[in-house]
Structure formats: structure tokens, C-alpha cells
Symmetry: D2
Subunit: 437 residues, 4 copies
């Protein structure tokens, strides 16, 4: 089987770490078990339709560069159907069973919302057909609420009530089609929910509207019978100067403030993490300890640039830290790893699409192997536990239960005198990590 | 009256905008009324004892540079008493009625906690005596929980239970002495409550401990009969790689998560705001719309440096934005503006201490005048209101009340068709601001 | 005269600082003399054709938003002619006599280079005609070497010799038409002269090629008889991960290294300055003291964002610092201030184009007034001179002449003993600046 | 042999990659040959005396935390002698033959410069004695021109002529003692050669003074008969707001501008690189292609913090990129890798000093192995060469020789027509790198 779109690329095989073949997996072996679960079940990889099939290489200073052989230069429904077929062939050749989409990536906007919905229905029918006999399903769907000019002031946070209503109608439909395809999650990415200037913005009103909108989404989910997870995706900036879902802590706080915490989880993106001034590991851990880690948008940024570069994550140390969080979380299901990552503008060979995904998958696969080994070894875990051992006492337990006030503690402080200093052992912890990467 | 410490500096007078005298106020006229309130009541300025009387000009690459004439090179109780007298003379000459302190700035650490407490009591007695017949009072007190090696792993978040207890005893005492002096607020600054590396840190446990500690502080406040406001001060980094009270949103979310939101407000520092990737105005507005704006640490950072430079805020535009938030907040009382700002290391003249504070006060005073004029003019306010006018409808009201679901909104979206685009008028808003600065 | 394009906007008039009319100048009074020169001769304002007439509001996440009434949705030569007429009407109504362009902004790319050149000739003819009887001339022209996919790897630094040749042909023509219109300068903006990854880049070869290309441009200038200034524009990043003309110091060093320093000056852009980690004032001063300050791209960035936002500079303090450099430079002629600044994506009213430029012009006009007053006052200048007074000695002169070695200096050091410390007086300097803004 | 200072630490041995012993080398095998040279000769490791023996854990918010058993709390000459012995024992146990120092780290400042020089002579005598029978020598020495208040405005760039002279005398002596100990290089680190504010600074004068000072150093070197390399160390910020030796390109440009390029090379520090907005690899390559790569200060920063954290570099990918530059440079000799890196403030065990250095050495050793394998494999090298192959033509050669003008190139452009696009293959390059790390 050569396929219709990638005739020169065979199904990608696992060849092991000694392979130098860039079109083979060196570390990802889908069916191999790690810590009692198959690699493919830990990793639940997903291809992002928008980057892989709609990314054209355009940037703020340049026109599109990609001219994939299957593209005819149009944005017709016919073209959309062809692309969807390419998507399924790509998934099969990679050996990946999940994909993610925005409604408007997969089907063109029509002259009216009605027409747009019909276009979408056409593509969804095709996707259902292509799914038949495969285990390919959407990891999640979402609505594109940022590209069309109508959303220039935001969607749920637009000052225009008509835009708010339009966005509601669009999300309603996007949730329906995600559900129809058997999608396991539905994502809200902030898009233009943020501000360009506080001078012309009513901050409180916009946050209130965003909460109301999300509440309606949660209600609609139930009515629709969709059992997937609703996910919010933090991002600090871009396209707006300041996005409302700045980072994990801000987003969790927002959800809690508006009584929405039980209805949503987070979709953490590594490049968004670093743009917000945190490590990706920090954002994952913040989500995890709050029980809110639902999905990962697997990518990386350039540490020296201040915008979202959405590069494939290829660094092993970074991947190991990510997988430490994921393993501690017991995996991500029903979420997974969506490659929200794109080829560089200058990469214009079809082959590059494969190489990029393979690198990203191998990095996380190797990270999983490292994390498993590190956790099984147990030395690092023990180092951490021992640092806090003094709280494993009856007084410690009482303190943690909120039963000990300042007066009792003062008595103890006088009794104990000056505490002794223990080394934080950060270099040892780094040395241990280094040994496992 | 020449005083004992600043014999060459007279009481600082208001001379009006045309003055070129650097040792006079050009914009701050304490008793003048703006929007129905005296300038001094809007601004409630405070001198930070630590920077002004303990700042020695040392930095990570250099030894102290300041050799104030009243310093004898020691850290004795006697020296501490002298400094406190200098503080009161400084306040009087500036015409400022508030000051802020850490416990360990004003009195030296002794060999034991008991001795340390006695040292503190000695100084507090003196301060009370110096207060007599004046309206000078602490704006707030706080405990220095970061300088001593015992706190190297944090105070409330130290893994060592003895350090936790020691910190509790220290805060208990600091709250007592703040109360004794008639302080109006008590501040918690994160200090070393954060992490240097996630590899050796139990994030959840540390956050839990921090919450328990703050809960105990709130309980102690009631028992003590202290009616002041408890304030948390967000800061993203430094001294740790990642502070827990990262920014306003994170801190508010933390308080809410642990049921502490009603017990605390925020002390927003402008330099901390920009280090966290936000404008100071953003942090103030985030605190304000959540009803959490309690105090401002008035300073500014260098926009090109990645650490806390704690410079005096002298920029008029920035000051105008700050005062817009403060006026909308109805002022800050019982909080105020604490100058958490220091002379540059190379500024070693006593006169520089005055010039720096006068510049900072004049900037905010001019900001207040501008903000008042801008709000009275009303054009900017109207511009914002008109942007959201479409929600001033019965449907808008219902949406905001959470009564309108996606199905009804979809009906409206189909009915309304494509929304029209309105300009965001950001340049006009900036032009209006420009006219008032 | 109402004009064909902006019928509702009259010629913009000077109304003085008390005006609140956003469509009037409050500080810019073209014919008024400051320090012996007319404001318009100090400021030499220029409109950037690309932002004002080709900026469509598109961004990496969104489609265009602007629908100016004169646009027909095409990129035809006819449309290009209409836009050029709009440009001249805009300049006249603003009272600005200069404009800047990229070759491809003003005329569409054809199917071949020959056709593209013909398109350009058509528009140049029209522009010459429109110039007649006016004093409107290009401040500078430049070639757009970054938008077309052929330039995706750079132009002069492309690894493909055909692209290098194509770029040479394009620049040759762009210099010709700039000359034909009486342009006073010609600019090289780095575009994609930089790298996305060092892994696939031969850094030395690319820098060598860039130098060879610029040498050819300098030769062509002479052959062409063009007497304008050639300008390089530093920028650190974007569109590439790392641009070769990183900042002023790097660019000057590059020119010197390749023997090109006498052939070029710099075009300093404020937003590029801050993206490179410097203040705009730093970049201007670095260029100025090297005799390389040729032109200013007047704009500003958002201090919290890591990409080029190209906003109109409206801050008075910043404008004052810029004008201090410009006045010390004796002005910028034959360079000037090009507004390399654009409306926000959400600003879609024709009126916004005017408001934005007026704000930018007023800011710099006010900055000029402040800088003149500050320099005439002389207190700040004197403060600086006095700091270095110890070098105004015969030994100082000898040191500065390179005549004093370490051995003689050691003798003096032993003789003089420990130096005394003088205050750097930074707060006083800031206070003085504050008094003049 | 247990030694006097580290009785519990044996000589560190190579145990190979499978070892989990943190106190053994897993990758660094000093005598093993890689690409025809011993690992120790490629790597030429050096311990930084200041961090390892004078780093006390103090930070801007905290007092010292380290209490090494050999410290008596004083800064006496006797204590300095003890520390020097500890240094030699540390070097021997690590198996490292080089160390670096500031004059004031190793010997205390006296009441006068004469006394200070005598103190220094005492320690130098001891160091010479300790060197006997070993191959331990200084990699380089330098003068500490930033810690003492006299240098608060800079040393060579101080506005005070007495400070300039004092600095000259100090550097003269530091060069002498470096030479006396057989040091192979001498380093100038910017210290406070920079500005805090442009408002009070004469930028041109300060740069001129810095150049004059360095010229005198180069002259003194010759007179002294010192054959080592003089090195400048770029750093963008800290302690000043803006350091003059901002980055490699700025520093090279400065040297060239003042005719000093042949007298100096660069000491590139990775943490300084990233603070200046560049990758470490960029700075190394910039130095290398200019023939200016003389030494590396091996450390790393925290990618999320904006100050110099001086951490030990432990990341393998980063180390591989560094070693690619070093191998292409033919090694660094007579320079080497100085660990300008320190323990975290919270790491207070003597053992931590060893673990940190071992991690840093192992990272670079592994990087060397990877770089050698990558270069021997040749696939990446070939990928780069092929990208530029079109210049390997006679026209390409003529262009590179500066013999082809715009007119000839235009002819070729018309002849060739539209260039075709080739993929930049960045993902493939990253995939290849990934395979070798």
C-alpha cells in the first residue's frame, strides 16, 4: 500500500535506538509495555489538523511557502474533502490513532452560518466514513473563534452581543460534530479572549461574559449527551497583548471563582508555559496537583523568542520532565498528546511532515522510558520524601490538619531553639536526572 | 528646627509646577482637595524603613557603598535606636505620616529568639515614644522571613517543621508589635516561599503548608484584637526561581482555593507586576475588580532588566494609570502607597534620599491630578461604555444573568446574520490619555 | 477641498496644548522655530506606505480586518494607482511632506521580474505626477525582500545563488526608482537576513555574502548618481529567530569588519531597540556617538510583549529622550522620522489613521520642546560634565591620548591612596528630566 | 590519602555510563582519546576559586548559608592560606589541573594598596609552593574591579581619574601574579564597566577610556613578558543596567573600532549569552568564525530568570552544541572550560561541591563524545554544505570575491527567472542531532 498522498513514504516502523533512519522510530514502540501500560496508551498521540494540513508557512512578514501536491490553491469543500483523506493516510502511515481539529480548518466558512454548517456536515460525513474500520478518532475538537474579523474583539468577550451569540452558535455546532465523530474531549482555546489595551476595556464585564459562556457550554454538553472532557488551554499573550487564560494558576482560579472548576480540565501547552514565564514542568505540575491535568499540547518554543513558535519538542531532558508529570498523573486519558507544532516556514518537503512528527514522538517515548526508569529506581523520590520527613510526626499531622495555632507553635519554637540547616541537594537531584536521560 | 540627622535639609514645601527646586514639591500639595478628598488622603504615602535606613548599596557583585553620618558600622540595639530617630526626622521633613518595616530591619537579631524579641520590644518602645504628639503611624509591619539562613528553604513552606514553628513565632510577634504601634495593615511578602527546583520539591505539600500558616495568622489576628488588613504581596521570582504568590490572579486563586479570600487583600508592587509579565495597571485592575486591592508598593523596574530594581517611580504616564485604578477603587485606605524603592547603589549623598522620595511623591501627585481630570472629563469613560452598549438590552441582561443557553443564542445568531465590525478606538483612547498627561 | 478619500477630515491644524480635539495638533506647530530651526525641519516626519496603505489588520491568528472605502479587494495596478493617490491626499491633510515605501507595497508583483518592474514604473510615473507642485518626496525607499517565498531563506544570505541574483536585481531597481522620485535615503532592512537554526546554517558564509551584497549596493549607488544615504536597520529577531543586524553595535561592528562603515548609516527603530534588550535611547546614543545616526523609525513596542508591535509612540518621556539624542545629533537630515507604526488590528475607522499619526507627531513635537528646554536650562548637562571633571587635567588629557601606561598609573595610585566616593546623582538627573516632561 | 579538607571524598574515578554513583565520572575519562586528542586536552577543565571557595550562599535577600568546616569566619591572610590549600586538595581529588581566580578572592584587601599587594604576594608564594610537583596551574587570573565601593561607577570607565589609576595599578599587579604562577591567560570581565542610567553618563568618553585602559594592558603584557592570551568576557547586564561588553558581536566590534582586535580574544559564558538574548551556541559560533574564541565559562542560566544564576551546565543537548563549536575550533587551548558556576544557596554539604563539578564535567564529556560522533558521521555537515552548493560555481566564486556587481546579477536574474524553493530541512537537522544525544 503506497497511498494516494505520500507514495514515497512507507508505514513508519520501530527500528530501535541504534537506527539512524530518520523515517523510523528509534524509541517509540507502540505496543511495548512500560510500567504496565502500552506506550501508545501512555502517549495517546494526536496530529493537529491545522498545522499539518492547513499550515501554509505564512508568517507576519511573509506569504505562504508550502505547496503540497494535493492542494489545488482553493478553499473549496472539494479541497477540504481531499485534505481529510490526506489526514487519514498520514495518521495511518505514522501509526497514530488520534487527531484534533478546529471546525474551520476542516471545512470552509460559507457565506452564512447556515452554509458554513452545511460545509462542516459534509466533511464530518466523510470523516465518519474514513473512520470506519479504523480506531482513528478525534482526540478533541474545537471552534476557531479568532481568525474571522467578526471575532477581532474576542468571541465570548466581544463587546458586541451579536458576536457573543454567533460564537455560541458556532461552539454549539462544534461540540455536536466532535461528539458525532466520537471525540473524547472538547477544547476551549482563548483565541482573542483577552485585551489589547486596558484603556478601552471593561475587564470585569469581559471576564463575567467568558464565565457565562463557559457555563452555557457545560450545560449544552449535558444536553447533548457528550461525555468527553471540556478543556481550557492557558496562554499568556498572542494574539492579544494579554490573554485571560494567562497560565494554569490563573485559569484554575478563574474556574473556581465562577464555580466552574468541576466542569473543566486544562490543556497545557509547553510553548504557552514558557511564554508565561514558567517551565512546562511547572505548568503540568500545577495542573496535576489541582487534579486538572487533562491534555498536553506537545510542542516547544524557542527559549530566545518572545512569541509562540510551536516547534516540535525534540529535547530528551524536557521530554523526561513532562513524562514524569504524566506518569504521576496516571496518564492523560481520555486526554493525550496533541502535536500542536508546525514545520518551520522553510521546510517545504512532504517528507518533513513525517520527520517532524517522528522526532516529536520519539522524544516523548524516550522521555517515558527515562521517567519510568527514574521512578522505578526511586532514589529521587526518596530524596524528596526525606526532605519533608519532619512533618511525618504527630505535630506535623496536626499542623497539616489546621489544628495548631501560632501560640502553640511559639512554644515549640522557644523549646527547639535555632533549627539546623539541611542541604537542599539540588545538584544531587540534577545529577540523578542527568543519569537517566 | 534643623534636626539631628539632616541639618541641611529643611521641611519640604509645595512650590508648584513652575519650581525647578529639586527639594520642593511641584505637584504634591498635601492639603489640597482633589475629587473631594485631600491629596494626602488619596495618597497615604509611606517610607520603607528597610530601603531608606537599612539599604546599604550592596548588590550581588559589590559591598555596601552608603556611609550615612549617623551609622557607626554596628548592628547594635543602640544603633537601631539612632536609626529609628532618623526615620522620624526624615518623615517629618518630608511631611509623610506613615512608614513600613520588617521586624528585623528595625531591631537586630539576637542569639536566641527570646533575645531577638527583647531587642524588638526596646525599639518598639522608642517608636511609640517618638510617635507621641505626631500622627505618624506604621502603614504596615511585616516579618523578615528570608534573610536568615534558617529560612533558606522558605518559612511557612520550609520542609523543616522547626522552621515552620520558628516562622510562626516570629510572625506572631511581628503582628503584636505592628498592632502595638497602631499599624493599619500587616503584610505577608513571599520571601522564600517558592522553589528553586521542582526536582527536590513537593509542590502540593508546600502550598498546603502555606495555606495552613496563613489561616493561623488570620486566627491570631482575631485573638490579638488587631483590626488591620492582612495583605499578601505577589511576586513572580527572586529570591527563588519561582515564588508561589506569582501575580495577583495566582494569589487570589490560591486564597480562594484554601477558603482564605475574605481574610486577605493584596499589596500590589509595580516592579513585581512587570517581572511577572503584566503591566502594573493590569495587576491593579485585577486586584480591584476582585475587591482585593489593599495597598500599593510604589516603585518601578527597569523595563530592560529581569530582576527587581525597586526604583522610584517617576514616570507621569505610569503614575496616571496607577491613580486611575486607585480613584476607581475609592482610594486605598486603610492601605496606602509604600515606597518600596531604593536609591541606586551609586547614590551616596543624604540629599539623594530626599530627592528620590520627592520625585516619587510628585509623580503620583501629578498622576492623581491627571486621573481626576480624565475622569471628570468623562470622554474616555464614555468611549468604554459605548463599546459594550449592546449588552444594555434585555437579552444582554439575561445573558449576564446566566439565563440564556446556546440553543437560544443560536436562534439569535441565525436571525442576526453576520455582525458588523466596530473600531476598537485604541488610538483614540491613547490620544485622550496623552492629552491628560 | 475635501479630497476624494478622506472627505470628512479637514487639513489638520495646530490648536495648541489646551485643545482637546483629537484631530488637531496640540504640540506640533510645523513652522514654529525651536533652537533656531523649524519644528518640521527637526522632525522631518514621514508616513510609511506599507502600514498605512497596505496594513490590512491580518495577524498570525487572524484574517484582515480593514476594508478601506477606496479598496476594491484586488491587488491590481489600477488599485495600486488609487492607493498612491490616497497616500498623497493623506500626506497633504496631515501636513507631512515625506513618505517611505517598499517596492512591492506600491506596485504589485507580476508573473516575471520584467512585468514586476513595469508595474513599478507605472506607479512611479504616477507618484512623480502627484509630486508636481508639492514638496512631497520619499524620505526613503527600500526593497521588500522578505514576503515572497523565494526569499524564505534570506535574500543576500540565501544559500541559493539564484535568489542572491534576484535580490540584487530587485534592489538595483528599487534604488533607481527611489532616486527617480528624489528620495533622500535608501534603506536596507534585514528582512530574512538571519537564521532559524544554527544547525543548518553556515554563519560565516552568510555574513560574507551579506557584506558582498552591500558592497555592490554602495557601488551601484555611485554609478547611479544617487547621493542619498544608505541606511541599515538593526533588528534582533523576527521574522527569523536571529537577525544578523541584531542591534546598533552589532551592525556597526559588521560594517567596520567588512570595510563598509563609511558607506552606510543606521536607521534606528525604537521597537527593535527594546526587542534587542536595549532602550531606544541606548540605540540612538550608540549610533550617534559613532556618527552613524541617520534616520529613526518612530514607533514603540509593548513593554510586555516579545514581538514587534509597531505601535505609534505616544509617551512624552520616551519622546523627550529620543529628541535629546536628535538635537545632540544636530537633527537627522537628510534622514527623518518615519512612522513605522500601524493601527491596531481592531481599529477599522479611516479616522483612526489620522488620530494615530497625530498622536505620534504630537508626542515627538512635545519631546522636542522638552529636550530644547532641558538643554537650554543646562543643569543636566552640567551635572554630567562635572562627573568627569577629574579628567579635565593634564594627566587626564594624557591618559585619553593613550600616553600613560600602567607603570605611571601605579605610581599615581600609590601617591593618591584610596579614592573618595562621589554620588552618581541618578535620582537628581531623573528629577530634572521629570521637571521638563 | 584522605586529605585535610575532604576526608570523606576519595579521588573521583571514571566508572562509565552504567554507574549510578554520583561521586564518579560516567562520561569523563581524562586519558581517553577522542578525535585524536585526550579528553582532558579537549576539555581543559578549571575550577573557579571565587564560587567554590568564596561563594557563601548570600543573595540580595539573604545572608550567607555556607559554613565550610575549614572556614573560621574571618577574612585573614591565614584564612586565605587555608583556603588555597583546600583548593589544591579539591583539584587533586577531582583530577582537574586548572583553576581561575580574582586577585581579591584569594587574598584579602588591606588598608592600603601596598598592604593588599603584600597579602597577595603571600598567597601567591603559597600557591607556587603547592603547585610544585603537580601540573596544576591557573587557567587564568583576573582582577576584581567591582566589589569594592571605589569601583561603584566602574574601573576603567569610572568618571574619577583616581579610580582609573587605582584600577590600572591593580590590573598591573594581577597580571604579574598570573604570570608568576604560570597562568595561561588573563581575563577582563566587565564588572561595572557599563552604565546605570544614560542620563548621568558620557557614553563616548567611557568607551574611549575603556579602550585606552585595554591598550595599556596589552602594552604591559608585552613589557612583562607574559605570553598568555588576553580575554574579554561579554555580559549584557548585571551589575549595571547595561554593560559595555554586551555580547560577542558588540565586544568584537569594540575591539576592532579601537584597533585592539589582534590583542584580545573572548571568554564566552553561556549564562551571559542567554541573558543577552542569544543562545550559547550563537555566541560561541560568533566568536569562532571571527577567530576570537579563546575560553568558555561553562555554566548555564535558568531559562525563566532574568539574572545570572551561574548554574552548572548539566544538559546533554546543550553540551553537545557547545562541543560542536569547540571541536570545530580545534579545541580551546591555551584556553579551557572554567566552571563559572556555583552551588545553589541551599546546598550546604561539602559533598555538593563535588557532585556539582562532576555533573558539569560529565555533561561536557558526554557532549564531546556526541559531537565527535556527529562530526564523524558527517550527515549533518553534508546537509549544510549541500544547502550552499550553488555558490560552488565560478559565478559563486566571483560573487564571493566581490567581483560581480548589480548589473551583471540583474542579467542573470532575468535569464534564470523565478528560483525554485528548497526545503531548509531544519527538522531533519534536529532529528540528526537528536540521534546523537
Amino acid at each position: 500500500w503506497n497511498g494516494d498522498f505520500f507514495p514515497n513514504i512507507s508505514n513508519i516502523q520501530y527500528e530501535g535506538p541504534s537506527s539512524r533512519n530518520p523515517l523510523a522510530y528509534h524509541w517509540y514502540n507502540a505496543e511495548e509495555e512500560i510500567l504496565g501500560k502500552k506506550m501508545k496508551d501512555w502517549l495517546r498521540f494526536s496530529v493537529a489538523f491545522w498545522h499539518t494540513f492547513r499550515g501554509d508557512g505564512g508568517d507576519p512578514f511573509g506569504s505562504p511557502t508550502k505547496t503540497w501536491p494535493w492542494e489545488d490553491g482553493s478553499n473549496s469543500v472539494q479541497m477540504a474533502m481531499t485534505r481529510m483523506k490526506a489526514n487519514f493516510e498520514f495518521l495511518k502511515k505514522l501509526g497514530v490513532e488520534r487527531w484534533c481539529f478546529h471546525d474551520r480548518d476542516i471545512a470552509p466558512e460559507g457565506a452564512t452560518l447556515e452554509e458554513t454548517n452545511r460545509n462542516l456536515d459534509t466533511i464530518i460525513s466523510l470523516a465518519k466514513e474514513l473512520q470506519l474500520g479504523t480506531s482513528i478518532r478525534p482526540l478533541w475538537g474545537t471552534a476557531q473563534l479568532f481568525k474571522h474579523p467578526r471575532y477581532m474583539h474576542g468571541a465570548a468577550t466581544s463587546p458586541d452581543i451579536k458576536v457573543y451569540a454567533y460564537a455560541a452558535a458556532q461552539v454549539k455546532k462544534a461540540m455536536e460534530v466532535t461528539h458525532e465523530l466520537g471525540g473524547e474531549n472538547y477544547v476551549f482555546w482563548g483565541g482573542r479572549e483577552g485585551y489589547q489595551s486596558l484603556l478601552n476595556t471593561d475587564l470585569k464585564k469581559e471576564l463575567d461574559h467568558m464565565a457565562t459562556f463557559l457555563q452555557s457550554a457545560a450545560s449544552w454538553k449535558k444536553k447533548l449527551g457528550f461525555n468527553g472532557t471540556l478543556l481550557l488551554e492557558p496562554k499568556p499573550q498572542e494574539p492579544t497583548k494579554h490573554q485571560y487564560d494567562w497560565d494554569a494558576a490563573t485559569t484554575i482560579g478563574f474556574l473556581q471563582n465562577y464555580g466552574l472548576k468541576d466542569e473543566f480540565k486544562l490543556n497545557v501547552e509547553c510553548n504557552h508555559a514558557t511564554l508565561s514565564g514558567h517551565s512546562c514542568h511547572h505548568e503540568l505540575e500545577t495542573a496535576r496537583i489541582n487534579g486538572m491535568l487533562g491534555n498536553i499540547d506537545a510542542n516547544t518554543g524557542d527559549p530566545q523568542t518572545g512569541w509562540d513558535t510551536d516547534q516540535f519538542l525534540t529535547d530528551v531532558t524536557e521530554a523526561t520532565l513532562i513524562m514524569l508529570s504524566v506518569v504521576k498523573n496516571g496518564g492523560l486519558a481520555p486526554g493525550g498528546f496533541n502535536f500542536d507544532a508546525k514545520l518551520r516556514r522553510e521546510s517545504v518537503d512532504v517528507e518533513d511532515l513525517f520527520i517532524a512528527h517522528i522526532s516529536g514522538m520519539d522524544a516523548l517515548a524516550r522521555g517515558l522510558r527515562n521517567a519510568a526508569a527514574l521512578l522505578q529506581d526511586g532514589v529521587l523520590t526518596k530524596l524528596v520524601e526525606e526532605r519533608y520527613a519532619s512533618f511525618d510526626s504527630s505535630l506535623g499531622t496536626s499542623i497539616e490538619a489546621g489544628e495548631v495555632g501560632f501560640e502553640e507553635l511559639e512554644v515549640k519554637a522557644f523549646e527547639w531553639g535555632e533549627p539546623t540547616l539541611s542541604s537542599g541537594k539540588q545538584e544531587l537531584a540534577e545529577r540523578i536526572l542527568q543519569s537517566f536521560t
